[in-house]
Amino acid sequence: MTPLRVALLDQADGGQARQLDAALRAAGHEPRLIGSRAVAQAEALLRRRGFTPALTHVPFATLELQRADVDLAHAFTAPDAAAALAWRRLGGGPVVFTCCERIDRGSVANARQRLATLTRALGQPDAVVAVDDGVRADVERWFALSLAVVPAGDVHAHEALYRKLLAASAG
Protein backbone atom coordinates (compact mmCIF):
# COMPACT_ATOMS: atom_id res chain seq x y z
CA MET A 1 0.00 0.00 0.00
CA THR A 2 1.32 3.45 -0.89
CA PRO A 3 1.66 5.83 2.05
CA LEU A 4 -1.08 8.41 2.34
CA ARG A 5 -0.13 12.07 1.97
CA VAL A 6 -2.60 13.98 4.10
CA ALA A 7 -2.62 17.61 5.21
CA LEU A 8 -3.97 18.07 8.73
CA LEU A 9 -5.33 21.52 9.60
CA ASP A 10 -6.20 22.49 13.15
CA GLN A 11 -6.00 26.21 13.75
CA ALA A 12 -7.50 25.82 17.22
CA ASP A 13 -4.74 23.34 18.07
CA GLY A 14 -7.13 21.24 20.07
CA GLY A 15 -4.66 18.36 19.86
CA GLN A 16 -6.70 16.18 17.50
CA ALA A 17 -4.57 16.94 14.45
CA ARG A 18 -1.35 16.28 16.33
CA GLN A 19 -2.79 13.05 17.70
CA LEU A 20 -3.78 11.86 14.23
CA ASP A 21 -0.47 13.07 12.81
CA ALA A 22 1.44 10.89 15.27
CA ALA A 23 -0.84 7.89 14.66
CA LEU A 24 -0.57 8.19 10.85
CA ARG A 25 3.21 8.55 11.02
CA ALA A 26 3.45 5.47 13.21
CA ALA A 27 1.40 3.60 10.61
CA GLY A 28 3.90 4.55 7.88
CA HIS A 29 1.97 7.40 6.21
CA GLU A 30 3.13 10.92 5.35
CA PRO A 31 0.86 13.38 7.12
CA ARG A 32 1.68 17.06 7.16
CA LEU A 33 0.50 19.52 9.80
CA ILE A 34 -0.48 22.84 8.30
CA GLY A 35 0.28 25.57 10.81
CA SER A 36 -1.81 28.67 11.21
CA ARG A 37 -0.59 32.17 10.44
CA ALA A 38 -3.34 34.37 11.80
CA VAL A 39 -2.71 38.07 11.40
CA ALA A 40 -3.19 39.26 14.96
CA GLN A 41 -4.07 42.89 14.21
CA ALA A 42 -6.47 42.04 11.42
CA GLU A 43 -7.98 39.31 13.58
CA ALA A 44 -8.54 41.81 16.41
CA LEU A 45 -10.15 44.27 14.00
CA LEU A 46 -12.48 41.58 12.67
CA ARG A 47 -13.43 40.63 16.23
CA ARG A 48 -14.27 44.24 16.99
CA ARG A 49 -16.57 44.25 13.97
CA GLY A 50 -18.35 41.16 15.27
CA PHE A 51 -16.77 38.48 13.08
CA THR A 52 -16.22 34.92 14.23
CA PRO A 53 -12.63 34.20 15.36
CA ALA A 54 -9.85 32.70 13.29
CA LEU A 55 -10.58 33.85 9.78
CA THR A 56 -7.36 35.59 8.80
CA HIS A 57 -5.30 32.40 8.61
CA VAL A 58 -7.62 30.94 5.96
CA PRO A 59 -5.90 32.40 2.87
CA PHE A 60 -2.47 31.47 4.26
CA ALA A 61 -3.59 27.93 5.00
CA THR A 62 -5.01 27.66 1.48
CA LEU A 63 -1.71 28.87 0.04
CA GLU A 64 0.21 26.40 2.15
CA LEU A 65 -2.05 23.59 0.98
CA GLN A 66 -1.40 24.63 -2.61
CA ARG A 67 2.34 24.37 -2.02
CA ALA A 68 2.17 21.14 -0.04
CA ASP A 69 2.45 17.89 -1.93
CA VAL A 70 -0.64 16.22 -0.44
CA ASP A 71 -3.52 14.17 -1.83
CA LEU A 72 -6.15 15.03 0.73
CA ALA A 73 -6.88 17.75 3.31
CA HIS A 74 -8.37 17.00 6.69
CA ALA A 75 -9.68 19.98 8.71
CA PHE A 76 -10.54 20.06 12.39
CA THR A 77 -12.14 23.49 12.65
CA ALA A 78 -14.75 25.18 10.48
CA PRO A 79 -12.39 27.96 9.25
CA ASP A 80 -9.80 25.27 8.44
CA ALA A 81 -12.48 23.50 6.43
CA ALA A 82 -13.00 26.78 4.53
CA ALA A 83 -9.28 26.75 3.63
CA ALA A 84 -9.45 23.09 2.59
CA LEU A 85 -12.55 23.69 0.46
CA ALA A 86 -10.83 26.63 -1.24
CA TRP A 87 -7.87 24.33 -1.96
CA ARG A 88 -10.24 21.74 -3.46
CA ARG A 89 -11.80 24.40 -5.69
CA LEU A 90 -8.31 25.35 -6.88
CA GLY A 91 -7.68 21.80 -8.05
CA GLY A 92 -6.78 20.08 -4.80
CA GLY A 93 -8.09 16.75 -3.63
CA PRO A 94 -10.85 15.49 -1.35
CA VAL A 95 -11.63 17.25 1.91
CA VAL A 96 -12.51 15.69 5.26
CA PHE A 97 -13.92 17.67 8.17
CA THR A 98 -13.92 16.36 11.72
CA CYS A 99 -16.26 18.43 13.85
CA CYS A 100 -14.61 18.74 17.26
CA GLU A 101 -16.57 21.54 18.89
CA ARG A 102 -19.64 21.35 21.05
CA ILE A 103 -22.48 23.35 19.50
CA ASP A 104 -25.47 24.88 21.23
CA ARG A 105 -27.93 27.67 20.53
CA GLY A 106 -25.64 30.17 22.19
CA SER A 107 -22.70 29.41 19.93
CA VAL A 108 -24.17 28.28 16.64
CA ALA A 109 -24.67 31.75 15.14
CA ASN A 110 -23.12 34.14 17.63
CA ALA A 111 -20.89 36.11 15.25
CA ARG A 112 -20.70 37.29 11.66
CA GLN A 113 -19.73 34.47 9.27
CA ARG A 114 -19.98 31.95 12.11
CA LEU A 115 -23.08 30.13 10.84
CA ALA A 116 -22.03 30.37 7.20
CA THR A 117 -18.60 28.93 7.97
CA LEU A 118 -20.03 26.14 10.10
CA THR A 119 -22.76 25.29 7.57
CA ARG A 120 -20.24 25.05 4.74
CA ALA A 121 -17.89 22.95 6.87
CA LEU A 122 -20.68 20.50 7.67
CA GLY A 123 -22.22 20.46 4.22
CA GLN A 124 -19.53 20.73 1.56
CA PRO A 125 -16.58 18.43 2.35
CA ASP A 126 -16.37 14.97 0.80
CA ALA A 127 -16.71 13.44 4.26
CA VAL A 128 -17.78 14.86 7.61
CA VAL A 129 -17.41 13.02 10.90
CA ALA A 130 -17.78 13.83 14.59
CA VAL A 131 -14.93 13.43 17.03
CA ASP A 132 -17.15 11.97 19.76
CA ASP A 133 -20.75 11.18 20.70
CA GLY A 134 -21.35 14.57 22.32
CA VAL A 135 -20.44 16.43 19.15
CA ARG A 136 -22.44 13.95 17.04
CA ALA A 137 -25.53 14.65 19.18
CA ASP A 138 -25.01 18.42 18.95
CA VAL A 139 -24.73 18.36 15.16
CA GLU A 140 -27.86 16.23 14.93
CA ARG A 141 -29.80 18.59 17.20
CA TRP A 142 -28.76 21.88 15.63
CA PHE A 143 -28.11 20.87 12.00
CA ALA A 144 -30.34 17.81 11.61
CA LEU A 145 -27.34 15.91 10.23
CA SER A 146 -26.33 12.38 11.21
CA LEU A 147 -22.57 11.97 11.45
CA ALA A 148 -20.45 8.92 12.11
CA VAL A 149 -18.13 9.15 15.10
CA VAL A 150 -14.44 8.76 14.26
CA PRO A 151 -12.09 9.61 17.15
CA ALA A 152 -8.93 11.45 16.17
CA GLY A 153 -6.71 8.59 17.32
CA ASP A 154 -8.45 5.92 15.24
CA VAL A 155 -5.86 5.53 12.49
CA HIS A 156 -7.51 2.52 10.85
CA ALA A 157 -10.86 4.24 10.44
CA HIS A 158 -9.15 7.33 9.00
CA GLU A 159 -7.01 5.28 6.67
CA ALA A 160 -10.08 3.49 5.31
CA LEU A 161 -11.94 6.78 4.91
CA TYR A 162 -9.04 8.46 3.10
CA ARG A 163 -8.50 5.57 0.71
CA LYS A 164 -12.20 5.43 -0.11
CA LEU A 165 -12.31 9.15 -0.89
CA LEU A 166 -9.12 9.04 -2.95
CA ALA A 167 -10.41 6.07 -4.94
CA ALA A 168 -13.70 7.90 -5.56
CA SER A 169 -11.90 11.06 -6.69
CA ALA A 170 -9.59 9.07 -8.98
CA GLY A 171 -12.52 7.19 -10.47
Partner: protein, 322 residues
Protein backbone atom coordinates in the same frame (compact mmCIF):
# COMPACT_ATOMS: atom_id res chain seq x y z
CA UNK B 1 -61.94 18.70 15.18
CA UNK B 2 -61.03 15.74 17.32
CA UNK B 3 -59.46 16.22 20.74
CA UNK B 4 -59.57 20.00 21.12
CA UNK B 5 -56.57 21.55 22.90
CA UNK B 6 -55.80 24.96 24.38
CA UNK B 7 -53.45 26.39 21.79
CA UNK B 8 -51.98 25.51 18.43
CA UNK B 9 -48.72 27.03 17.29
CA UNK B 10 -48.72 27.63 13.54
CA UNK B 11 -45.51 28.24 11.60
CA UNK B 12 -45.06 28.92 7.90
CA UNK B 13 -41.60 27.92 6.71
CA UNK B 14 -39.76 28.40 3.45
CA UNK B 15 -36.04 28.17 2.62
CA UNK B 16 -35.01 28.31 6.28
CA UNK B 17 -34.94 24.70 7.39
CA UNK B 18 -32.02 25.23 9.76
CA UNK B 19 -33.72 28.08 11.61
CA UNK B 20 -36.90 26.02 11.64
CA UNK B 21 -35.00 23.23 13.36
CA UNK B 22 -33.80 25.69 16.00
CA UNK B 23 -37.39 26.87 16.48
CA UNK B 24 -38.45 23.25 17.07
CA UNK B 25 -35.67 22.91 19.65
CA UNK B 26 -36.93 26.02 21.43
CA UNK B 27 -40.52 24.81 21.35
CA UNK B 28 -39.36 21.49 22.78
CA UNK B 29 -38.39 23.41 25.91
CA UNK B 30 -41.80 25.05 26.44
CA UNK B 31 -42.99 24.93 30.04
CA UNK B 32 -46.64 24.57 29.01
CA UNK B 33 -47.83 20.97 29.40
CA UNK B 34 -47.54 19.19 26.05
CA UNK B 35 -51.10 17.91 26.39
CA UNK B 36 -52.27 21.51 26.04
CA UNK B 37 -50.61 22.50 22.79
CA UNK B 38 -49.58 21.33 19.35
CA UNK B 39 -47.40 22.61 16.55
CA UNK B 40 -48.43 22.76 12.91
CA UNK B 41 -45.70 23.58 10.38
CA UNK B 42 -46.67 24.34 6.79
CA UNK B 43 -43.60 24.27 4.56
CA UNK B 44 -42.20 23.93 1.06
CA UNK B 45 -39.38 21.45 1.78
CA UNK B 46 -38.67 18.27 -0.14
CA UNK B 47 -39.36 14.91 1.48
CA UNK B 48 -35.74 14.30 2.50
CA UNK B 49 -35.38 17.65 4.25
CA UNK B 50 -38.77 17.27 5.94
CA UNK B 51 -37.82 13.80 7.17
CA UNK B 52 -34.49 15.01 8.52
CA UNK B 53 -35.63 18.29 10.07
CA UNK B 54 -39.21 17.60 11.09
CA UNK B 55 -40.01 13.86 11.27
CA UNK B 56 -36.80 13.07 13.14
CA UNK B 57 -37.38 15.76 15.74
CA UNK B 58 -38.39 14.68 19.26
CA UNK B 59 -41.56 16.83 19.06
CA UNK B 60 -42.78 14.66 16.18
CA UNK B 61 -42.12 11.49 18.15
CA UNK B 62 -44.02 13.02 21.09
CA UNK B 63 -47.05 13.63 18.84
CA UNK B 64 -46.88 17.40 19.31
CA UNK B 65 -45.62 18.29 15.82
CA UNK B 66 -47.51 17.84 12.57
CA UNK B 67 -46.33 19.18 9.25
CA UNK B 68 -47.96 19.87 5.95
CA UNK B 69 -45.90 20.10 2.78
CA UNK B 70 -47.06 22.23 -0.10
CA UNK B 71 -45.60 22.45 -3.60
CA UNK B 72 -42.44 24.58 -3.73
CA UNK B 73 -43.21 27.87 -5.44
CA UNK B 74 -46.88 27.84 -4.44
CA UNK B 75 -46.50 29.13 -0.90
CA UNK B 76 -46.71 32.51 0.77
CA UNK B 77 -46.80 33.41 4.46
CA UNK B 78 -50.53 34.15 4.36
CA UNK B 79 -51.45 31.01 2.41
CA UNK B 80 -49.29 28.76 4.57
CA UNK B 81 -50.60 30.27 7.82
CA UNK B 82 -54.18 29.82 6.60
CA UNK B 83 -53.52 26.16 5.83
CA UNK B 84 -51.91 25.83 9.26
CA UNK B 85 -54.64 27.34 11.43
CA UNK B 86 -57.37 25.55 9.48
CA UNK B 87 -55.62 22.25 10.25
CA UNK B 88 -55.07 23.21 13.89
CA UNK B 89 -57.05 21.78 16.80
CA UNK B 90 -56.61 24.63 19.29
CA UNK B 91 -59.25 27.11 20.41
CA UNK B 92 -56.41 29.61 20.28
CA UNK B 93 -53.83 29.91 17.54
CA UNK B 94 -50.38 31.34 18.21
CA UNK B 95 -48.28 32.38 15.24
CA UNK B 96 -44.53 32.63 15.20
CA UNK B 97 -41.94 32.62 12.43
CA UNK B 98 -39.33 30.09 11.43
CA UNK B 99 -36.53 32.55 12.23
CA UNK B 100 -37.63 33.01 15.83
CA UNK B 101 -36.76 31.40 19.15
CA UNK B 102 -39.50 31.62 21.78
CA UNK B 103 -38.43 31.70 25.39
CA UNK B 104 -39.38 28.54 27.35
CA UNK B 105 -42.36 30.22 29.07
CA UNK B 106 -43.62 31.87 25.88
CA UNK B 107 -46.73 29.76 25.36
CA UNK B 108 -47.57 29.70 29.05
CA UNK B 109 -47.47 33.49 29.25
CA UNK B 110 -49.31 33.97 25.98
CA UNK B 111 -52.03 31.64 27.20
CA UNK B 112 -52.23 33.44 30.55
CA UNK B 113 -52.66 36.77 28.76
CA UNK B 114 -55.35 35.24 26.55
CA UNK B 115 -57.10 34.06 29.72
CA UNK B 116 -57.05 37.61 31.11
CA UNK B 117 -58.38 39.02 27.83
CA UNK B 118 -60.89 36.54 26.43
CA UNK B 119 -61.57 36.88 22.68
CA UNK B 120 -58.71 39.40 22.35
CA UNK B 121 -55.80 39.26 19.93
CA UNK B 122 -52.67 38.96 22.09
CA UNK B 123 -49.33 40.27 20.89
CA UNK B 124 -46.12 39.25 22.66
CA UNK B 125 -42.72 40.91 22.81
CA UNK B 126 -40.29 40.23 19.96
CA UNK B 127 -36.68 41.21 20.43
CA UNK B 128 -33.43 40.68 18.54
CA UNK B 129 -31.87 37.32 19.43
CA UNK B 130 -29.47 38.01 22.33
CA UNK B 131 -27.18 35.18 21.18
CA UNK B 132 -26.70 36.94 17.85
CA UNK B 133 -26.14 40.48 19.11
CA UNK B 134 -22.61 40.62 17.63
CA UNK B 135 -24.13 40.44 14.16
CA UNK B 136 -25.68 43.88 14.70
CA UNK B 137 -22.21 45.24 13.94
CA UNK B 138 -22.70 44.32 10.28
CA UNK B 139 -23.69 47.09 7.88
CA UNK B 140 -26.91 45.54 6.68
CA UNK B 141 -28.86 43.49 9.19
CA UNK B 142 -32.42 42.35 9.47
CA UNK B 143 -34.22 41.59 12.73
CA UNK B 144 -37.34 42.63 14.65
CA UNK B 145 -37.71 44.61 17.87
CA UNK B 146 -41.34 44.95 18.93
CA UNK B 147 -42.91 46.23 22.11
CA UNK B 148 -46.53 45.10 22.14
CA UNK B 149 -48.95 46.32 21.06
CA UNK B 150 -47.36 47.99 18.05
CA UNK B 151 -48.90 49.27 14.84
CA UNK B 152 -47.82 46.37 12.66
CA UNK B 153 -48.93 43.37 14.79
CA UNK B 154 -46.35 41.08 13.18
CA UNK B 155 -47.09 37.37 13.07
CA UNK B 156 -43.71 36.66 14.66
CA UNK B 157 -45.46 36.59 18.03
CA UNK B 158 -49.22 36.92 18.08
CA UNK B 159 -52.21 34.88 19.20
CA UNK B 160 -55.68 34.86 17.70
CA UNK B 161 -58.81 33.11 18.90
CA UNK B 162 -59.63 30.50 16.31
CA UNK B 163 -63.25 31.69 16.17
CA UNK B 164 -62.02 35.14 15.14
CA UNK B 165 -59.82 33.68 12.41
CA UNK B 166 -62.82 31.76 11.10
CA UNK B 167 -65.00 34.86 11.16
CA UNK B 168 -62.35 36.84 9.25
CA UNK B 169 -61.48 33.95 6.93
CA UNK B 170 -57.86 34.21 8.02
CA UNK B 171 -55.06 36.07 6.31
CA UNK B 172 -55.65 37.87 3.04
CA UNK B 173 -53.87 35.65 0.51
CA UNK B 174 -53.72 38.51 -1.95
CA UNK B 175 -51.28 40.28 0.36
CA UNK B 176 -47.65 39.43 -0.37
CA UNK B 177 -46.39 41.64 2.48
CA UNK B 178 -48.14 43.15 5.49
CA UNK B 179 -50.65 40.32 5.65
CA UNK B 180 -50.28 40.25 9.42
CA UNK B 181 -51.16 43.91 9.95
CA UNK B 182 -53.99 43.51 7.45
CA UNK B 183 -55.49 40.70 9.51
CA UNK B 184 -55.21 42.72 12.73
CA UNK B 185 -56.92 45.71 11.11
CA UNK B 186 -59.80 43.51 10.02
CA UNK B 187 -59.93 42.02 13.52
CA UNK B 188 -60.17 45.48 15.05
CA UNK B 189 -62.85 46.47 12.58
CA UNK B 190 -64.75 43.36 13.68
CA UNK B 191 -64.56 44.55 17.28
CA UNK B 192 -61.59 42.55 18.55
CA UNK B 193 -59.43 44.04 21.27
CA UNK B 194 -55.62 44.05 21.02
CA UNK B 195 -53.93 42.96 24.23
CA UNK B 196 -50.24 43.06 25.12
CA UNK B 197 -48.25 40.20 26.63
CA UNK B 198 -44.81 41.76 27.12
CA UNK B 199 -43.67 38.75 29.16
CA UNK B 200 -44.32 36.35 26.28
CA UNK B 201 -40.97 36.77 24.54
CA UNK B 202 -39.80 35.59 21.16
CA UNK B 203 -36.21 36.18 20.03
CA UNK B 204 -35.92 37.07 16.38
CA UNK B 205 -32.88 36.08 14.33
CA UNK B 206 -30.36 38.76 13.47
CA UNK B 207 -29.11 38.15 9.96
CA UNK B 208 -26.52 40.13 8.08
CA UNK B 209 -26.78 40.62 4.34
CA UNK B 210 -24.71 41.98 1.53
CA UNK B 211 -25.95 45.24 0.03
CA UNK B 212 -27.39 43.53 -3.08
CA UNK B 213 -28.90 40.87 -0.81
CA UNK B 214 -30.70 43.30 1.47
CA UNK B 215 -31.88 45.40 -1.49
CA UNK B 216 -33.29 42.27 -3.12
CA UNK B 217 -34.96 41.18 0.09
CA UNK B 218 -36.48 44.55 0.83
CA UNK B 219 -38.02 44.79 -2.61
CA UNK B 220 -40.93 42.77 -1.23
CA UNK B 221 -42.00 45.80 0.78
CA UNK B 222 -43.29 47.35 -2.45
CA UNK B 223 -46.31 45.12 -1.93
CA UNK B 224 -47.23 47.17 1.15
CA UNK B 225 -49.03 49.47 -1.25
CA UNK B 226 -51.67 46.74 -1.48
CA UNK B 227 -52.17 47.04 2.29
CA UNK B 228 -52.47 50.83 2.13
CA UNK B 229 -55.01 50.50 -0.65
CA UNK B 230 -57.10 47.89 1.18
CA UNK B 231 -56.86 49.56 4.58
CA UNK B 232 -56.81 53.34 4.20
CA UNK B 233 -57.40 53.62 7.96
CA UNK B 234 -53.85 52.35 8.46
CA UNK B 235 -52.53 55.62 6.99
CA UNK B 236 -53.22 57.25 10.35
CA UNK B 237 -50.15 55.36 11.61
CA UNK B 238 -47.89 56.56 8.81
CA UNK B 239 -45.75 59.72 8.85
CA UNK B 240 -47.69 62.37 6.88
CA UNK B 241 -50.07 59.48 5.95
CA UNK B 242 -47.84 58.78 2.94
CA UNK B 243 -44.51 57.44 4.13
CA UNK B 244 -44.16 53.89 5.38
CA UNK B 245 -41.87 54.98 8.19
CA UNK B 246 -39.59 57.82 9.25
CA UNK B 247 -36.67 56.36 7.30
CA UNK B 248 -38.61 56.61 4.07
CA UNK B 249 -39.63 60.17 4.89
CA UNK B 250 -36.01 61.19 5.55
CA UNK B 251 -34.77 59.34 2.46
CA UNK B 252 -37.36 60.91 0.19
CA UNK B 253 -36.55 64.38 1.55
CA UNK B 254 -32.84 63.72 0.96
CA UNK B 255 -33.47 62.55 -2.61
CA UNK B 256 -35.51 65.68 -3.34
CA UNK B 257 -32.74 67.74 -1.73
CA UNK B 258 -29.99 66.17 -3.82
CA UNK B 259 -32.00 66.54 -7.03
CA UNK B 260 -33.04 70.12 -6.26
CA UNK B 261 -29.57 71.26 -5.20
CA UNK B 262 -28.52 71.38 -8.86
CA UNK B 263 -30.84 74.36 -9.33
CA UNK B 264 -30.76 75.84 -5.87
CA UNK B 265 -28.16 74.96 -3.24
CA UNK B 266 -30.69 75.56 -0.46
CA UNK B 267 -32.43 72.32 -1.45
CA UNK B 268 -29.44 70.45 0.00
CA UNK B 269 -30.76 71.32 3.45
CA UNK B 270 -33.47 68.71 2.89
CA UNK B 271 -30.76 66.05 3.08
CA UNK B 272 -29.63 67.16 6.53
CA UNK B 273 -32.08 65.06 8.59
CA UNK B 274 -30.99 61.98 6.67
CA UNK B 275 -27.27 62.69 7.11
CA UNK B 276 -27.73 63.57 10.78
CA UNK B 277 -29.64 60.37 11.48
CA UNK B 278 -27.22 58.25 9.46
CA UNK B 279 -24.17 59.58 11.27
CA UNK B 280 -25.76 58.98 14.64
CA UNK B 281 -27.19 55.51 14.02
CA UNK B 282 -24.19 53.73 15.56
CA UNK B 283 -24.34 55.84 18.71
CA UNK B 284 -22.07 58.51 20.09
CA UNK B 285 -18.28 58.74 20.00
CA UNK B 286 -15.83 59.46 17.20
CA UNK B 287 -15.23 55.81 16.24
CA UNK B 288 -18.93 55.06 16.00
CA UNK B 289 -19.47 58.13 13.85
CA UNK B 290 -16.63 57.13 11.53
CA UNK B 291 -18.16 53.66 11.15
CA UNK B 292 -21.58 55.21 10.51
CA UNK B 293 -20.05 57.58 7.93
CA UNK B 294 -18.35 54.66 6.17
CA UNK B 295 -21.68 52.85 6.05
CA UNK B 296 -23.64 55.87 4.83
CA UNK B 297 -23.25 55.30 1.06
CA UNK B 298 -24.42 51.68 1.32
CA UNK B 299 -27.33 52.70 3.46
CA UNK B 300 -28.27 55.45 1.10
CA UNK B 301 -28.38 52.94 -1.77
CA UNK B 302 -30.47 50.55 0.31
CA UNK B 303 -32.95 53.19 1.47
CA UNK B 304 -33.22 54.69 -1.99
CA UNK B 305 -33.95 51.26 -3.47
CA UNK B 306 -36.64 50.75 -0.83
CA UNK B 307 -38.31 54.08 -1.60
CA UNK B 308 -38.15 53.41 -5.36
CA UNK B 309 -39.62 49.97 -4.72
CA UNK B 310 -42.44 51.51 -2.71
CA UNK B 311 -43.05 54.02 -5.52
CA UNK B 312 -43.29 51.14 -7.99
CA UNK B 313 -45.81 49.42 -5.70
CA UNK B 314 -47.74 52.67 -5.36
CA UNK B 315 -48.02 52.95 -9.15
CA UNK B 316 -49.07 49.32 -9.46
CA UNK B 317 -51.78 49.62 -6.83
CA UNK B 318 -52.67 53.20 -7.70
CA UNK B 319 -52.30 54.60 -4.22
CA UNK B 320 -49.84 57.16 -2.89
CA UNK B 321 -47.35 55.58 -0.53
CA UNK B 322 -43.58 55.81 -0.31
Amino acid sequence: MEGSIAVSVVVASHARHLRLRWLLNALEEQTLDRAEWELVVVHTYDADTAARVLDAHPLAAAGVLRHIAIEPGTGSPSKQRNIGWRAARGELVAFTDDDCRPEPDWLERLLAAAGEHPRAVVQGRTRPEPHEREILRASHVRTLDIEPVNAYRQAANILYPRALLERLDGFDEGAIAGEDVGLSLRAEAAGAVMAAAPGAVVNHAIESHTLPGIVRQNLKWRHLAYLAKRHPEFRAQLPLRIFWDEHHLRTTAALVGVAGARRNAAFALLALPYVRWSLGRRGRGATRRVIAAAELPGHAVRQTAEVIGMAAGAIRHRTLIL
